[in-house]
């Protein structure tokens, strides 16, 4: 360089050559700074972060994470909502005197022990829970202490304003607001991800009536459990589902297992004579059995080594209406065999959906216990509801289908707007539906279910008193029963199915010691219908309908085979229905 006279000149040229490149470089840098600046402005002006954003900041996160969706009844009444609650935490290293702070806090917060707090405030720890979910008064007391090192955490807490009213439907959520039972668990994702309230099919007014009425019977008859269902017979919407004993979902951790059990959808029971509705429908649909047919019920029926008798034995030949109305096992078994026996039963139960768990928006869904070998004795007992166990909801849904348009009804806990659109499986013909309605009316008018009779509405129904299986492997202990009644109203044009089951009721003076479904469960259904009918806007049955039902009934003299006296015999007229 030095001593080269041209060196300076050449370098200067190179400098000048570099100038264009420097200018280009400056432009590139300007562009880079500009784009970073635009990104910064873009991120902030955009309310939501460009890519995902979860921050450690509690308040910001609480504000950003949408609250769990509310749950409402079909009319918009709140069933489950969220409230903000504050929890108290501490950074022990910032507490001037952890032991003194522990004493001060324990004196102001219910359920907090000073000794326990002192243990948690062990020096060196940076975080400790003091108390979860403070009351506003406690929050104020803590603020007034003015201690450094304490912090509030905002969190959401699930609140069930109706308390026990719909505990088994709603279920509950855990500490982190995750669904742990009921619809809260079954619809957990929906409730987390969509902020709109979840509208259920429940009608909380109906639920209140049903629970109150059932609770009274549950206590009066000292049942160990009870279930009541009100099902919209056309849409399958559950207006009410009550299982007793129940619990308060706001304090679910105190609920005992028996209280958490949903007896309407989780438990499977042998429903006994209720099943005769199904056997009758199957027999009538088969074409082999008509309302005029008579079967010999003069003595118990023998199948192999087994003997099947009647509770209310008439000891004579009975017409089909008499078999149904007086709930004759002997007659029903013969109807089932006349209709084809095991093969027909299996196919029919399959079509009714009685052989698999129900699809319902709950987690407790009982799996039916279905016989493995359909020998004659099994076929006989299934016809009157023993040897097969289903959930009460299975049965209510089946009755809904058989008493409305003869197609299967899928129960749901979500409000449906309009009738279900999906094609529905045909169960029976409309003629069978009409005959079955008449038979069910007859049970309430003249048979075992007269305790369900009401002045306002024509009710159809069926009683059931099933022996509970014994404690041992086989047989029945002959002590405990499941007493039940299924009601359909108004029977001339069914709108609702009401099912009540009482687990192991005891008769009292009012029932003359009887614990039959007709004495214990039927009056519950009657009270429910009487109260929810007007609530749901169901017009009272008109006298014309009553006349039409009566017109079909012919009362004939019949000789009681056991006492030899004359009594009322029932036969269907079948006059141009």
């Amino acid at each position: 360089m030095t001593g080269d006279p041209d060196g300076g000149g050449r370098a200067l040229t190179a400098v000048e050559g570099g100038r264009l490149r420097v200018r280009l470089l400056a432009a590139i840098f300007a562009l880079a700074f500009l784009s970073v600046g635009i990104r910064l402005v873009d991120m902030v002006s955009d309310a939501t972060p460009v890519r995902s954003a979860a921050s450690g900041d509690e308040a910001a996160r609480a504000a950003r994470v949408p609250a769990r969706a509310e749950i409402r009844d079909r009319n918009g009444i709140l069933l489950a909502t969220n409230v903000q609650v504050l929890s108290l935490t501490a950074d022990p290293s910032e507490l001037p005197d952890p032991d003194a702070a522990a004493e001060l806090l324990a004196a102001r917060l219910a359920g907090v022990e000073a000794a326990e707090l002192k243990r948690r405030f062990t020096v060196g720890r940076r975080f400790a829970w003091v108390k979860r979910e403070l009351t506003p008064a406690e929050q104020r007391a803590v603020l007034e202490l003015g201690l450094p090192g304490l912090d509030f955490r905002i969190s959401q807490r699930r609140l069930y304003p109706q308390r026990r009213l719909a505990s088994h439907v709603l279920g509950f959520t855990g500490v982190d607001n995750q669904g742990l039972a009921g619809i809260e668990l079954a619809m957990d994702r929906r409730l987390r991800e969509t902020p709109e309230p979840l509208v259920t099919s429940l009608d909380i007014r109906v639920q209140e009536v049903v629970r109150e009425t059932l609770l009274r019977a549950y206590r009066r008859f000292r049942a160990i459990g009870a279930c009541a269902i009100v099902l919209d017979a056309r849409s399958g919407e559950l207006l009410s589902l009550v299982s007793l004993p129940d619990f308060d979902p706001n304090a679910y951790e105190r609920a005992r297992p028996a209280e958490r059990e949903n007896r309407c959808t989780g438990g499977v029971y042998e429903l006994g004579s209720l099943f005769k509705v199904i056997t009758a429908a199957m027999a009538l649909e088969s074409g082999e059995v008509g309302l005029h047919d008579r079967f010999n019920a003069s003595e118990p029926i023998r199948i192999g080594r087994n003997r099947i008798g009647d509770d209310h034995a008439k000891a004579r030949w009975l017409t089909v209406p008499e078999i149904f109305a007086f709930s004759s096992n002997v007659g029903t078994v013969q109807m089932a065999f006349a209709a084809g026996g095991a093969a027909s039963q299996q196919a029919f139960l399959e079509r009714l959906g009685m052989t698999r768990p129900l699809e319902i928006e709950l987690v407790q869904r009982g799996r039916p216990l279905v016989p493995r070998r359909w020998i004659d004795i099994v076929s006989a007992t299934v016809s009157f509801g023993h040897g097969i166990a289903v959930t009460p909801l299975h049965f209510a849904a089946a009755v809904a289908g058989l008493s409305t348009d003869g197609r299967r009804v899928a129960p749901t806990l979500l409000r449906r707007d309009g009738p279900p659109k999906e094609p529905r499986v045909r169960l029976v013909s409309e003629r069978t539906v009409r005959d079955l309605r008449w038979l069910m009316w007859l049970v309430v008018e003249k048979g075992t279910g007269t305790k369900a009779r009401l002045p306002a509405y024509l009710i159809g129904g069926k009683t059931g008193t099933a022996d509970k299986p014994g404690k041992g492997r086989r047989g029945y202990d002959g002590e405990a029963v499941i007493a039940s009644f299924v009601g359909v109203f108004p029977i001339e044009d069914p709108r609702y199915v009401v099912l009540v089951t009482l687990d192991d009721p005891e008769g009292d003076e009012g029932t003359f010691g009887f614990r039959y479904g007709g004495w214990t469960a039927a009056p519950v259904v009657a009270t429910i219908v009487d109260r929810i009918g007007p609530l749901l806007g169901v017009a009272p049955s008109d006298p014309g309908a009553r006349q039409r039902f009566f017109a079909r009934l012919k009362i004939v003299p019949a000789m009681n085979g056991r006492t030899g006296e004359m009594e009322e015999g029932l036969a269907a007229l079948d006059a141009g229905w």
Binding site: G8, V22, A30, V50, S55
Partner: protein, 370 residues
């Protein structure tokens, strides 16, 4: 209002009148922002590491004062003095750099730090500015691109040492800065294309060869796999809004271990808002563009190339750091010059920027100078 009369021909007076005072002012303001940020962001981190809350603040301030003196002192040098200083630094710290794999302290999986006279130093920080100046001299002393092979050989040697550390972020930065110098030195466009291709290839090789590079890039490209740091950083920036949560009110520093260093920009945006963050960004942009303008006007090839190199180093480091904070680039351990907390690295930065100030003085030239 000026400390010196224009007619004063003394060393300091000459310095004052020839210095780019806007550049110096910008640097001092950035250093001031750094002081504010170390106060704002470091106490929770110091506390979490079990130190006194003021530990990093005190350390930052104790290094900042010597750093400013070093900055001013270096800026007094004439270009030849800058070159000499660069040679000394390169020789001394280059040697240390070569020795760190053997006597270095391992921190977070890399041996980049050595203990010198009780100070924990990262030799690569000091090698960086020195290398740029020496490369500029090698490029400038021959006409055209004749000096390029020697400069490339020197840079390659330093790169090798850096890769051994391993310090890939720094290697990429050094490579990019050398590329910028070659570009300004007049590298033909065809070769520029070829080198750019090589650079991409090199990045790919790093991706394949180093697992930690691979995971970082994979995490960046996979939108579902947000790294905790980036996620927290992003939400910090967004939650700050235009005006910020207020000084000291940020929360990101409680969650991010690097809130005072690599992610200081997010802390800044969170506590002081996007407008303040934008102003800081503009300040960096101003320094780079102002410096480039002075390089554009330079009358000496060495001065031009050295200034451009130093500026590219400073600007790229700032851009990369901010871009990482805003999730425009995959995470890379690069600090924001003067704003991030830094002990000894402040000294290296001050030397680099002091050299820049010296080279951008009016009439600065290597050739023909005494």
């Amino acid at each position: 209002m000026s400390p010196f009369a224009r007619t004063n021909r003394g060393l300091l007076a000459n310095w004052w009148w020839t210095l780019d005072r806007a550049l110096l002012g910008g640097l001092l303001v950035i250093a001031l922002v750094g002081v504010v940020m170390v106060f704002a962001s470091s106490p929770p981190i110091a506390k979490r590491l079990g130190y006194e809350e003021t530990r990093f603040v005190v350390k930052h301030l104790t290094f900042l004062l010597p750093a400013i003196l070093l900055l001013l002192g270096t800026s007094l040098l004439a270009p030849r003095g800058v070159l000499r200083a660069a040679f000394l630094l390169l020789a001394g710290f280059g040697l240390l750099l070569a020795l760190t794999p053997f006597l270095g302290t391992e921190i977070k999986g890399a041996r980049r730090w050595v203990s010198v006279a009780g100070l924990i130093l990262q030799p690569s920080e000091f090698v960086k500015p020195a290398l740029v100046v020496v490369s500029a001299w090698l490029l400038a002393r021959r006409p055209g691109m004749a000096g390029a092979p020697q400069a490339a050989a020197l840079t390659g040697l330093m790169l090798l040492l850096l890769v051994i550390q391993p310090d890939l972020g720094m290697s990429v930065l050094v490579l990019a800065v050398f590329g910028v110098q070659l570009f300004v030195a007049g590298l033909p466009w065809l070769l520029i294309g070829g080198l750019a291709g090589l650079g991409v290839l090199g990045l790919y090789a790093a991706y394949v060869a180093f697992p930690h590079v691979q995971t970082r890039i994979d995490d960046f490209l996979d939108p579902t796999k947000e790294s905790y740091q980036v996620e927290t950083s992003l939400s910090a920036v967004t939650s700050g809004g235009l005006f910020g949560r207020g000084p000291g009110e940020g929360v990101v520093k409680f969650y991010l271990p690097e809130a005072h260093s690599d992610f200081v920009f997010a802390t800044l945006a969170e506590e002081f808002g996007a407008i303040a963050a934008l102003l800081v960004l503009m300040l960096f942009g101003f320094i780079v563009l102002r410096g480039l303008w002075r390089a554009y006007e330079a009358q000496d090839r060495f001065v031009q190339l050295a200034a451009v190199g130093l500026l590219a180093q400073f600007g790229l480091q700032a851009l990369v750091n901010i871009a990482v904070n805003l999730n425009l680039l995959p995470t890379k351990g690069m600090t924001l010059p003067f704003v991030s907390y830094g002990g000894s690295s402040l000294l290296a930065l001050a030397i680099g920027m002091g050299m820049l100030l010296a080279l951008t003085r009016v009439g600065a030239r290597l050739e023909g100078a005494p």
